[in-house]
């Protein structure tokens, strides 16, 4: 029997102790009329034959060379990361409620929180949220609690923000009366201009979201946007790529103010680039950091360092009075368990890479994207969409529908990027491409050659 250790003798002795004749008697409190018939499920499979089926399915999907980013990024994952993360002591433990028997997980989360504070330039971090998109939704709800001077529940979302993040924020936070208003981007620069915020100057707005780099890979002028928000008593929610923070100004430093009010107020984002595989979109993890003054408004678990009854240092979950199991309907969020195992992977990843390694990953990704964009935009019918400085993604404009080009590339084993024509019809035939440090010259050569061929063929056909 799969994973059931009981022998016939065990069963007899246990039933005897219970005073029941059969196992079925244990279900005698369920009304007979409700009892389920036989389930229509496939029969059990052994590990060997199931392994064969899954290997066939996995390999059937192939391993194309991937140039898609758009919120999930392919980076090298050092071998120790998952070798340690999948150790049973991490993999099969629960949320560390019994602190004395969970010091390993708790210390790891404390180290993680410390690293996220260092990366983002903020004072406090939680122990993770589900993913980047839902982290933004939670950040919006948190901003409403934190910005006591605002009653409007109005949050500004640039259109240069990942559009799925905007959808998720609406699905999760929209039920609580939060109003999202979108702010347009500049068609030539590919970033949000200060002018487009001017209509809101002097108005009651709760928060402004700034994604850096934005969905197009362009760098926003984070300092001037932050200054404008703070002048108007608007909180700044930063959505950032953690790898980029090795080379980009930390959100905690955004703005030109020199007093304690400088920087973003809440920082969140997708943690996946830190050692988590693409894996069809999950599990990933969301991160969130903030200023100490807002720590009681932050959702999610938080680990603190304290001492035990003998004065030795130790770690435990803290500030639980914010949470659902204590506050019930008045909690900061309904979130409880979230993405502990991914935090484990990310903490190991950040430890291995350190600041120097992350900086090299960021620099190499920038370089590869610059190389890719130079090669692709040299092809007839392909040009670069925006002028703003970039991180590791760029929008290209084609002279024909992107979907056709992408499927031709896919037949050549290349995932050529993300078609933006549904998301941003006003851009025309727009293609979002990404290259990280995992793309070598041969990959970029292969993409450029395939694209040249595809564009040529179509031209000949036309």
């Amino acid at each position: 029997m799969a994973f059931i250790p009981h022998t016939a003798d065990d069963i007899d002795r246990m039933l005897e102790c219970i005073g029941a004749k059969t196992i079925d008697d244990l279900f005698d409190e369920i009304p007979v009329a409700l009892r389920a018939g036989e389930l229509k499920l496939p029969p059990a499979m052994g590990e060997m034959e199931l392994g064969r089926l899954l290997t066939e399915r996995a390999t059937g999907d192939g391993r194309p060379v991937n140039f898609i980013g758009a919120g999930a990024y392919e980076h090298h994952i050092p071998a120790p990361v998952w070798a340690i993360t999948t150790r049973g002591e991490f993999y099969s433990a629960y949320t560390p409620y019994q602190a004395e028997a969970s010091q390993g997980t708790l210390q790891l989360i404390y180290e993680y929180q410390s690293m996220m504070c260092a990366l983002t330039g903020m004072e406090v971090s939680n122990a993770s949220l589900y993913d980047g998109a839902s982290a933004l939704a939670e950040a919006c709800l948190m901003a409403v609690r934190a910005n006591r001077g605002s009653i409007s529940r109005r949050i500004l979302l640039p259109r240069s923000l990942n559009p799925t993040y905007a959808q998720v924020a609406l699905a999760i936070a929209g039920n609580q009366g939060i109003v999202f208003e979108s702010v347009d981007f500049d068609r030539s620069a590919g970033r949000t201009l200060l002018e487009s915020l001017q209509p809101y100057t002097g108005q009651d707005v709760t928060a402004l979201v700034i994604q850096q780099p934005n969905f197009f890979g362009s760098l926003e002028e984070a300092d001037e946007l932050t200054d404008w928000a703070h002048q108007n008593k608007i909180l700044v929610i930063a959505v950032v790529n953690p790898i980029s923070l090795a080379v980009l100004k930390a959100p905690g430093q955004w703005g030109t103010r020199t007093d304690s009010g400088h920087g973003a107020d809440i920082v969140c984002g997708e943690g996946q680039p830190l050692g988590v595989p693409l894996a069809s979109g999950g599990p990933y993890f969301g991160f969130m950091t903030t200023r100490m003054q807002y720590v009681r408004q932050m959702p999610g678990r938080i680990v603190g360092r304290t001492v035990d009854t003998e004065g030795r240092p130790g770690f435990s979950l803290t500030l639980q009075a914010r949470e659902q199991h204590i506050r019930r309907s008045k909690a900061t969020s309904n979130i409880c368990t979230n993405q502990g195992l991914l935090v484990t992977a990310a903490t190991i990843y950040m430890s291995l890479m350190g600041a120097a390694g992350l900086q090299q990953v960021a620099a190499a990704s920038l370089q590869r994207t610059a190389d890719l964009v130079a090669r692709l935009s040299a092809i007839a019918g392909v040009k670069v969409a925006f002028t703003a400085a970039r991180f590791h993604e760029a929008v290209l404009l084609l002279d024909r529908p992107v979907a056709l080009v992408l499927s031709a590339l896919a037949r050549r084993g290349i995932l050529g990027g993300l078609d933006l024509s549904d998301r941003y019809p006003e851009l025309g035939h727009a293609l979002l491409v990404c290259a990280t440090e995992t793309k070598l010259d041969v990959d970029i050569d292969a993409y450029a050659a395939a694209l040249a061929e595809v564009m040529q063929t179509a031209r000949a056909a036309a």
Partner: protein, 489 residues
């Protein structure tokens, strides 16, 4: 007795300026020179500077400071800490699965697994359709209540904003209702642990959006009058939400759809044995009856002809929307799929049978040892509650003391102080994968602890004695907040 490493320095304390795990770095590139100076980072982040071996040793040692299912019996009530089969992880981590970009072409092999998982969950729960996108139980709950709201709104029945929740419910239930913009009405349970039917009748009305129920309830007993509850709520115009936290208890025995529920969330990380990971990732798939089908969160795997494809807002224009950046915790869902195929039809029914056998056996043995069951006339479901209110009165010991002392005996503690209704309680869930010998060893520890209560209760008050730390000062943790390491100035 347990034997865990005593102390491990912080990773930051192990480092030295200039030390690196260089093998992991990509070749140097000039890329960042293109970033305008005012957008560039001036001071590098204070991350550890350590060697690869230091990293491996540090985190291996930290892992050894944990209790886990792989190392210890872990009877944490309401959490279903059963064996997490290794095959589930190995197959979900096949390199081709890990390499799939979520926005790439629809991967037919992976989607076949997800489609079949949807179908199997549908069959097990007796629902009409399933979405796998919620990323944890709490998000599944959110999706469920959001669908109930969307349903009433679509019918222009705008006054239905109240969610009824029994007092015994998980804290997530009322928190979820609030997140969905609903108000919460709590109703009491009767002495047998069932919903108080008269209180329910008095609570329902034109403002009722729905009720959130766990069955078996958090009190560890099957809700006798579920059919009556369903008809009262439905007649009042409300819908029934099933919190799947305790689905392990009834797998293959009774289906929430047949009990009259309109929507259910399942914790794949409990019933379907995906790992808890020290606090996630979970997966909170939702199943619905016909009425709520149009409102399911997207994306869902559909099949056209022989091809699988993602169903999106185009297919489900009334959907409550997207709850994650892509399609939820895909890799967790894949682990649940592997688990379900390994068990198959026969194995699935045995889950509930042996979970119930283990729970009822342990309850009887602990009762024989002098412990008081909170609901002695009821069958245990997959879990049961011991109340220590008498021991508390006689010896001054608390549920917390017993929990901590169990750690010394090499057992993870049961859930304590939940449900809140039962004083000094231990909620014990052995799960079906534990052998009789392990249950017996746990009983022996509980018997030994009972002797300690009577003769040396100070030993309990000071427990644990053998862990890396003694009891921690939680008040100090919350008052003198130390939430991050900072480099010496």
């Amino acid at each position: 007795m347990a034997d865990l490493p005593a102390r491990e320095p912080l990773i930051f304390e192990l480092g030295k300026p200039g030390r690196q795990a260089g093998t992991q770095f990509p070749p140097r590139a000039a890329g960042s020179a293109e970033i305008p100076a005012h957008l560039r980072r001036a001071v590098p982040p204070a991350l550890p500077e350590v060697s690869e071996l230091q990293v491996v040793r540090h985190f291996t040692r930290l892992s050894q400071m944990n209790f886990s299912i792989d190392t210890h019996f872990y009877p944490l009530g309401s959490c279903t800490m059963k064996y997490n089969p290794k095959a589930c992880n190995s197959f979900a981590m096949l390199p081709e699965f890990l390499g799939l970009h979520p926005l790439g072409p629809e991967p037919q092999g992976f989607m076949a697994c997800m489609y079949e998982l949807q179908e199997m969950l549908q069959e097990i729960t007796g629902m009409q359709a399933v979405s796998l996108t919620p990323m944890a139980g709490a998000q599944g709950e959110f999706a469920g209540v959001a669908m109930i709201r969307a349903y009433h709104r679509a019918r222009n029945d705008l006054g239905r904003t109240e969610i009824i929740v029994p007092q015994a419910a998980h804290g997530t239930n009322p928190a979820t209702a609030a997140m969905c913009g609903c108000s919460v009405k709590e109703i009491p349970c009767d002495a047998n642990g069932d919903v108080d039917i008269e209180a329910l009748r008095a609570a329902v009305g034109p403002a009722t959006a729905g009720i959130m129920l766990t069955n078996p309830s958090t009190l560890g007993v099957f809700e006798h009058k579920i059919a009556e509850v369903a008809s009262i709520v439905h007649e009042a115009g409300g819908l029934l939400y099933y919190d799947g936290a305790n689905l392990n208890a009834i797998l293959g025995k009774v289906r929430p759809g047949d009990m009259g529920f309109d929507v259910i969330h399942m914790n794949l990380h409990k019933t379907f044995s995906t790992p808890h990971g020290g606090g996630g990732p979970g997966s909170g798939a939702v199943g619905v009856g016909a009425r709520l089908r149009p409102f399911l969160p997207i994306p869902i795997v559909g099949r056209d002809g022989g091809r699988y494809r993602w169903l999106t807002e185009r297919d489900l224009p009334q959907s409550i929307g997207r709850l994650s950046g892509f399609m939820g915790n895909a890799g967790v869902n894949l682990r649940a799929y592997v688990y379900m195929r390994l068990l198959g039809r026969e194995g699935m029914v045995r889950v509930a049978e042996f979970a119930a056998l283990n729970a009822n056996y342990l309850m009887k043995r602990l009762q024989a040892a002098g412990y008081e069951a909170a609901y002695p006339t009821r069958r245990a479901s997959h879990e049961f509650i011991i109340t220590l209110k008498r021991e508390n009165r006689l010896y001054g010991v608390t549920a917390m003391d017993v929990a901590k002392r169990l750690l010394d005996y090499g057992f993870h503690a049961p859930t304590t102080y939940f449900p809140l209704l039962v004083p000094e309680c231990l909620l014990i869930e052995p799960t079906e994968t534990e052998a009789k010998e392990d249950l017996d060893r746990f009983c022996e520890a509980m018997i030994a602890i009972r002797r300690e209560m009577e003769h040396e209760s100070e030993k309990l008050a000071a427990a644990p004695h053998t862990m890396p730390v003694r009891r921690l000062d939680d008040v100090r943790a919350a008052k003198q907040l130390d939430l991050a390491w900072k480099p010496a100035a």
